[in-house]
Symmetry: C2
Subunit: 352 residues, 2 copies
């Protein structure tokens, strides 16, 4: 085979590993932080009334109407918004727009494991910053990079970095700060305003989590129009399809429905955290729709496997800083009840 | 503003310019080679019956069911198929997977104007190959590049390169040949079999043209499984959404409907070609859903502008080899009637 035509770095890399998407419908999926509740009734209604004959036409390349809706949400101009085929598309665009060949990519460790993969594909230097013992903010003095990807609230740890620390970092950092806010709707505070105030900050949002729309692939960037214009130059022309643009608009017309689901998930999160603590788990304070936990015996990896055998998928990251932990998405009450039941059976067995 | 954080090449580049997507609904759009007929009734029916609650879940990252349907269509294995967010996504992946920093990108000139833009973003050398005086095949002896993007049938010229010439080139070329078959359903012959036979050939297809689904963003690559695995490593994990995957499957269940539309478009293409020739246009033999024509007075640029004033959008490429030509998408009978009427009025005025 013609493997010598494949780039060396691509031959040797493993690629980003998304959480399993089991094709069986009977599993309880707590491994990719999907929302347990369906999208807004407005979205479902629009879906049933879409004019399919229009699908013969290309979408609006910039998604003007949706950009305007996003801009209204954040009180900015539509030239301060760029749409992506999911937030991952935006993250890849940022690297293409802002990192020269001899540039570098920064991110916390642990955080979203896609960042080093994007850097590897681009063959640019990585400058990971190790978080503290409890996964708290730990930025070295004088740290530099071309771009810094900051998941805030962080994943997989669920921790929200303090607003003033984030601001101070952005104000002094010499490169572009991309604040990846995939989970921000579940947090007690936001920092999208930094992207509208500072000239080197971009906020990235997704419809996948709080809006229950992981299936349509929609994310966006908010930030200085000059940086947005650079993203537009390096994006695929028609990166967001017609249906996705329309459903995104419908979702933004019903933000209250999303907020109601977020509130339910927060309440479930608090209850689940308590139940896990009572079972000997260490539970990190979460500002997201998942919990980052350190399980007791039989330990994270074994528990992950045993839950999986039981048809319950949680996320296990097999790496130095994360190998003793599980990331568990907050589902609905039935999911949580099943999870706790399964844990009780497993842990009773482990104790025998 | 922080423009110094934008890559130099991105600052200076213009970016790919897609054909205009006018927001007014009352124009006749013959500028982006969309299909004048709606998608299959099976697609429209499925669209109305989609289960919107499932949109809360991520799509299958590899789109297994759709890959299998594509594989059945081409008589290959599903490991010889990779899905893209439109064919453009596949083209970008090919560059990421197969072109090292010191590599090079080849393509015919004129052909799809995205290729040099992708190369510019990646800052790799371009090795364009100038087509002959009538836009026919003209490959220099001993030509090399890391990858060669070959639009076949070619755009914007509509010319199909002879099968044996393509095969001979692929067999001797040292790099990867990406045969961009966006328009192949409208042609008299195909060469997807080369991608299944040779170890350095990838065929790229789209649902945007023959299947009337430009709005859903769906394309795919067919080729050696080893090359497909490389593409998978460099693609966005969830690059194709749930609705797109489902509608793509429905479209492939009704290939005969697509073929019926293709036949109508071919017939309209032949009639339109004759009408334009009678009006003094030179018309290239087309194997696509558009015509490449060299208009008489008042010339291509002026005609483009005057048609546009009349609410009829055709495509004009303002570059050395293309400035005397127009690319006109084949629409339905009403579109063609309006186009000819407008041309007659304009040309009568130009003759006065």
């Amino acid at each position: 085979m013609r493997t010598d035509s494949i780039r060396r770095v691509v031959r040797s890399m493993r690629g980003y590993q998304p959480g399993e998407q089991p094709l069986r419908g009977d599993v309880i999926k707590l491994n990719t932080n999907e929302n347990p509740y369906p999208p807004s009734p407005r979205v479902l209604k629009l879906l049933r009334s879409l004019d399919g004959s229009q699908l013969r036409l290309y979408p609006d390349p910039l998604g003007g109407r949706l950009c305007e809706a996003v801009a209204r949400r954040h009180g900015c101009g539509s030239d301060e918004v760029v749409l992506g085929n999911g937030a991952d598309d935006i993250l890849a665009m940022c690297l293409r727009a802002f990192v020269e060949r001899d540039g570098s990519v920064g991110y916390f460790e642990p955080s979203y494991s896609l960042y080093p993969v994007l850097a590897e594909i681009a063959e640019v230097e990585v400058r990971p910053v190790e978080l503290g013992a409890d996964f708290e903010w730990a930025m070295p003095e004088g740290y530099t990079a071309s771009i810094f990807f900051m998941t805030n609230p962080n994943a997989p740890t669920g921790v929200l970095f303090p607003r003033e620390q984030v601001r101070e970092f952005c104000e002094t950092f010499s490169g572009i700060v991309v604040i990846d806010q995939a989970y921000v709707e579940f947090a007690r505070e936001d920092c999208v305003d930094l992207a509208l105030e500072l000239d080197n900050v971009i906020a990235v949002r997704t419809f996948s989590k709080a809006f229950s729309l992981a299936g349509i692939r929609l994310g966006y960037a908010v930030g200085p129009s000059e940086l947005m214009r650079a993203l537009i130059k390096v994006k695929d022309s028609y990166n967001v399809g017609r249906i996705t643009q329309e459903l995104g608009c419908a979702a933004l017309e019903d933000v209250r429905y999303m907020e109601g689901n977020v509130e339910r998930i927060r309440q479930t999160r608090a209850r689940l955290g308590g139940e896990l603590q009572r079972r000997g788990f260490r539970v990190w304070p979460s500002e997201t729709n998942f919990l980052w936990v350190r399980p007791p015996e039989p330990g994270a990896r074994r528990l992950y496997e045993l839950l999986r055998d039981d048809g319950i998928y949680v996320r296990y990251f097999d790496a130095r800083r994360t190998e003793d932990y599980l990331r568990i998405s907050v589902g609905d009450d039935a999911d949580m009840y099943a999870l706790l039941g399964s844990l009780d059976r497993i842990m009773a067995g482990a104790g025998r």
